[in-house]
Symmetry: C2
Subunit: 339 residues, 2 copies
């Protein structure tokens, strides 16, 4: 066996069988009918193929398909967590699941060990187009870069809402507004009439929406709604609430909610002060302290992002901006207002 050349090709097979390379390809891909290759020819070629053990080079086969069936996942920090309570994993779980279902592989961009932060991002971005399209998770200060991407015609979907002037950044976000409204209503049903919003209520859309859902609903229902910035000291906030007569704390940031709920617990104020976690209510909860509030449907957001992205890549029509409703979590920290 003179293995002069590295790899057996269709040309070799063709030569051995006395046909053209095209014939070999056609026979292998079921185009033989269409091209009316005779049964004899087909058998002859197949015999050679079997005899030589020829297998088509998968790379060459893929070359003239459209894409590479690759979805990029772009994050601003390493994906795999040290920490137990982990932000990215649920998204990735959903992404992986749906990617698998749709026949895509995932490309995880690791950042470069380059010191300078900017270059780091740049180097990452320079590899972005390796994939057919990309899912961008986290960090909402990147509208410009995303807008550039969109303008360049590169298919991508952000996880987390991104509104910009051009209005055409595709995203899968969470409907904070509605769920916050529902929680305020729920508090109202439980007798609360004075609510305290703990957080900034500005900046990212997700914060603006929470605040808007809160303040609008408070107004609609004729309740009293205050706002206070999150403090280093939970005690300060609790005292402020007690002093003002507020009976529920709506916390923008879940870790604040947890800290506050603990302090409330420690002071045995559970009956007088409720705590609502606007996010991560389930995942941050401890067995001994289950927060009330809501939880992002992260897995579903991941799945939806993959569906949207694949539709964009494959040029199918699709709703490009989707908000999913967070799940409300009935914990122990939202109770009836003490009479």
């Amino acid at each position: 066996m003179a293995r002069t050349k590295g790899r057996l090709t269709q040309r070799d097979i063709a030569k051995l069988a006395g046909v053209s390379q095209a014939a070999v390809s056609l026979i292998l891909n079921g185009g033989a009918e269409q091209a009316r290759l005779s049964a004899e020819t087909r058998e002859r070629v197949m015999a050679v193929i079997q005899g030589t053990g020829y297998v088509a080079d998968p790379l060459a086969r893929q070359m003239h398909k459209k894409g590479n069936q690759l979805l990029g996942v772009f994050t601003y920090e390493p994906v795999f967590p040290n920490a137990q309570a982990d932000f990215y994993t649920p998204f990735l779980l959903g992404i992986e699941e749906e990617a698998e279902r749709l026949g895509y592989d995932l490309l995880l961009f690791t950042s470069t060990p380059v010191e300078d932060g900017r270059r780091k991002l740049f180097r990452k971005e320079s590899r972005l187009r390796l994939a057919d399209g990309c899912i961008v998770i986290g960090r909402e200060q990147d509208r410009d870069e995303l807008a550039k991407l969109a303008a360049g015609g590169y298919p991508f979907v952000a996880i987390g809402r991104r509104d910009d002037n051009s209005g055409e950044i595709p995203y899968v976000g969470a409907d904070y507004l509605t769920v916050t409204r529902d929680l305020v209503r729920r508090a109202h049903e439980l007798g609360h009439v004075h609510l305290l919003y703990v957080g900034d209520g500005t900046g990212a859309e997700s914060l603006i929406d929470r605040w808007q859902g809160f303040s609008e609903t408070v107004a609609t229902l004729g309740l009293t709604g205050d706002r206070t910035a999150p403090m280093v000291e939970p005690s300060t906030i609790i005292e402020r609430a007690l002093a003002s007569g507020a009976t529920v704390l709506f916390c923008e940031v879940a870790s604040d909610a947890l800290a506050l709920a603990r302090e409330v617990d420690a002071r045995r104020l559970g009956a007088r002060l409720s705590v609502v976690a606007m996010g991560s209510a389930a995942s941050l909860s401890l067995p001994s302290l289950r927060l009330s509030g809501f939880e992002l449907p992260r897995e579903e957001m991941g799945r939806q992002a993959v569906r949207t992205l694949s539709a964009i890549i494959e040029n199918r029509s699709v709703e490009r901006q989707i908000l999913l409703r967070p799940n409300t979590v009935d914990g122990q920290t939202l109770g009836k207002r003490e009479q």
Copy 2:
């Protein structure tokens, strides 16, 4: 939003920069010196590349046996866990970390649907070549497939020891034999002379090695060592141990160890019966019940796999079969033999 063409090519770049496609390729691959392209031209082309975010199609590059700075990761089940106690994550953490350090991105092969509980490596072969090489995690019954891969000259590293006749499957495994020996010695030092091995002791190398480390050391030290298959009922095993006079249980499977330790606890036999977990002693432990035994150095295995793989890809010489020593875990379940 343009989206006229699917993917940006060197031809597009060339047109934009007013040069030939060849010039673009040369500049990207360091052939610019050789071809005497002027500094201005180089800069002009690079500017266009940066502006557009062009990246060479990995498939086309692989056709010329060029790398893409891409490491594949193949697992037999989905990577991202539902379960809390998670198998893959620590490996991936190490892999991501080291890949980042070495300037590789990661390609997660998810697209193969799980068939009867696991993914099939051979279904992926076409996709595998997108990556410069691949890390295969888990499942030790895949020697044939791996041998085929190796024969095809595809660079890969298995996590988990794989010995086969050809003897050349590269892997990063755990040195179960040594650590088991040390644990038996430790038990001996604590006064134990009659040990019970709970498990099959056959099948995968990892199991064979544990049994071998156990039985050899028992023989060397002149101890008594029995073996029993793992049972559905922990009670049965415990009674068998008590009846035979064994004072330590060496458990092949960590979840068995946990179940046994719990039962021992429940029966208040802690002083009479020790339990050793040969694997996951730390990660399976509860705050209230810390197992003694050992734990795989999963992160380090991941890092080492990346180092080995990159060496193979880059044609540097490297030890292809590496065993890392698991870490012993001093928990509460291995104590002095009761006098």
